[in-house]
Symmetry: C2
Subunit: 131 residues, 2 copies
DNA sequence: TATAGTGGTTTCCTAAAGTATACCGGTATC
DNA sequence: GATACCGGTATACTTTAGGAAACCACTATA
C-alpha cells in the first residue's frame, strides 16, 4: 500500500487517469469496509453493545458462522472491533465496537441520506409500490 | 421495493433486527451504486465532462467494453448519467453525468475523508511502506 | 450417558462479478 | 480493396462472494 499524495486539481479530463485512480484508493478502502452482505448489519449490531458470537448470529437471521467469523476477523484487522476472551469455563468471547469503529457513523449517515432520497426517486418514477 | 418507515429509536439491542434491516436498505442502495470495480472510476471520469464510449474506455485502463456497457446502462437506469446519440455518420454517442449524479459528491467526499485517515492508520500501525 | 450450548473450522457447492476474445454493421482513410 | 475507428454485442472462461452442512473440543445440565 503506497502512501499516495494526490492533488484534486490534477484530475480534470486531460490528465492521466493514474492520478485519479490514486485519488480513488481511499474511497475504495472505505467502500470495502462497508460493502458485502453482512458487514453493515454486524457493525450496527455491535453499535448497540458488546455481543457474543452466537448472540450476533441469532440477531442476524441467515448469517452463517463461517461468514460471521470471517467478517469479525476483518473488523478486528481494521481496528473497528475488538475480541475479548474471558477465562471462564468454557471460555466466553465478546466482541465490542471500538471508538474508531464509531467514527464510521457520519459516513453511514451520509449513505443513508442519499440512499433514502434515491429510493423515493426511483420508486416514484417507476410507479412501483413493491420490488 | 417497499417504502419503509423506520424509527432510529427502535434499533437498540433488544429490538427485532427486522426494523434495523429496514433502516439499512437505503444505505445498501447507495452502496450498490458505488461499489464494484469500475463504477467510481466511470462516474469520476464523467464528472470532468461529456465523454464518448471509446474515450471512457481509453481513459480507464483494463476496462472492457462489456463492463463499460453494463455500467453505463446502470448509470442511466439510476438517472446518474444520460446517453446522447448524435445523428452524424457514423453515429456518435456521448455520455454525460446528470445534476443528480453530481449529488453523489458529498457521499464520495465523506468516503474519501474516512478512507484517507484509515489508510494512514493501518499503514502506520503495520509499518509497511508498500502493500 | 445423552443432549445442548459455546466458539468456531472445514469441505463442498452455487451464483454473481469480472475477464478475454472475437465479432458485428457502419464509415472513413490509405 | 485493406485497414482502422466507432459503439457496442456474444460467447466462453475464471475468480470471488457467499451458502449448506458437517464437524471439532469443551462444558454444563438432565
Amino acid at each position: 500500500m503506497e502512501v499516495v499524495e494526490y492533488d484534486k486539481r490534477k484530475c480534470p479530463t486531460h490528465v492521466s487517469t493514474g492520478e485519479c485512480t490514486k485519488h480513488l484508493l481511499p474511497v475504495k478502502d472505505a467502500l470495502d469496509i462497508l460493502s458485502g452482505k453482512w458487514k453493515l448489519q454486524i457493525i450496527l449490531s455491535l453499535t448497540f453493545g458488546k455481543k457474543r458470537f452466537k448472540q450476533i448470529q441469532r440477531e442476524i437471521p441467515g448469517l452463517t458462522p463461517k461468514m460471521l467469523s470471517k467478517e469479525l476477523k476483518e473488523l478486528e484487522i481494521n481496528e473497528l472491533a475488538t475480541r475479548h476472551v474471558y477465562d471462564t469455563s468454557p471460555v466466553s468471547v465478546e466482541y465490542e465496537i471500538t471508538p474508531y469503529g464509531r467514527t464510521l457513523k457520519p459516513i453511514i449517515e451520509e449513505l443513508h441520506k442519499w440512499g433514502s432520497k434515491h429510493r423515493k426517486r426511483i420508486i416514484t418514477r417507476s410507479g412501483r409500490s413493491t420490488l
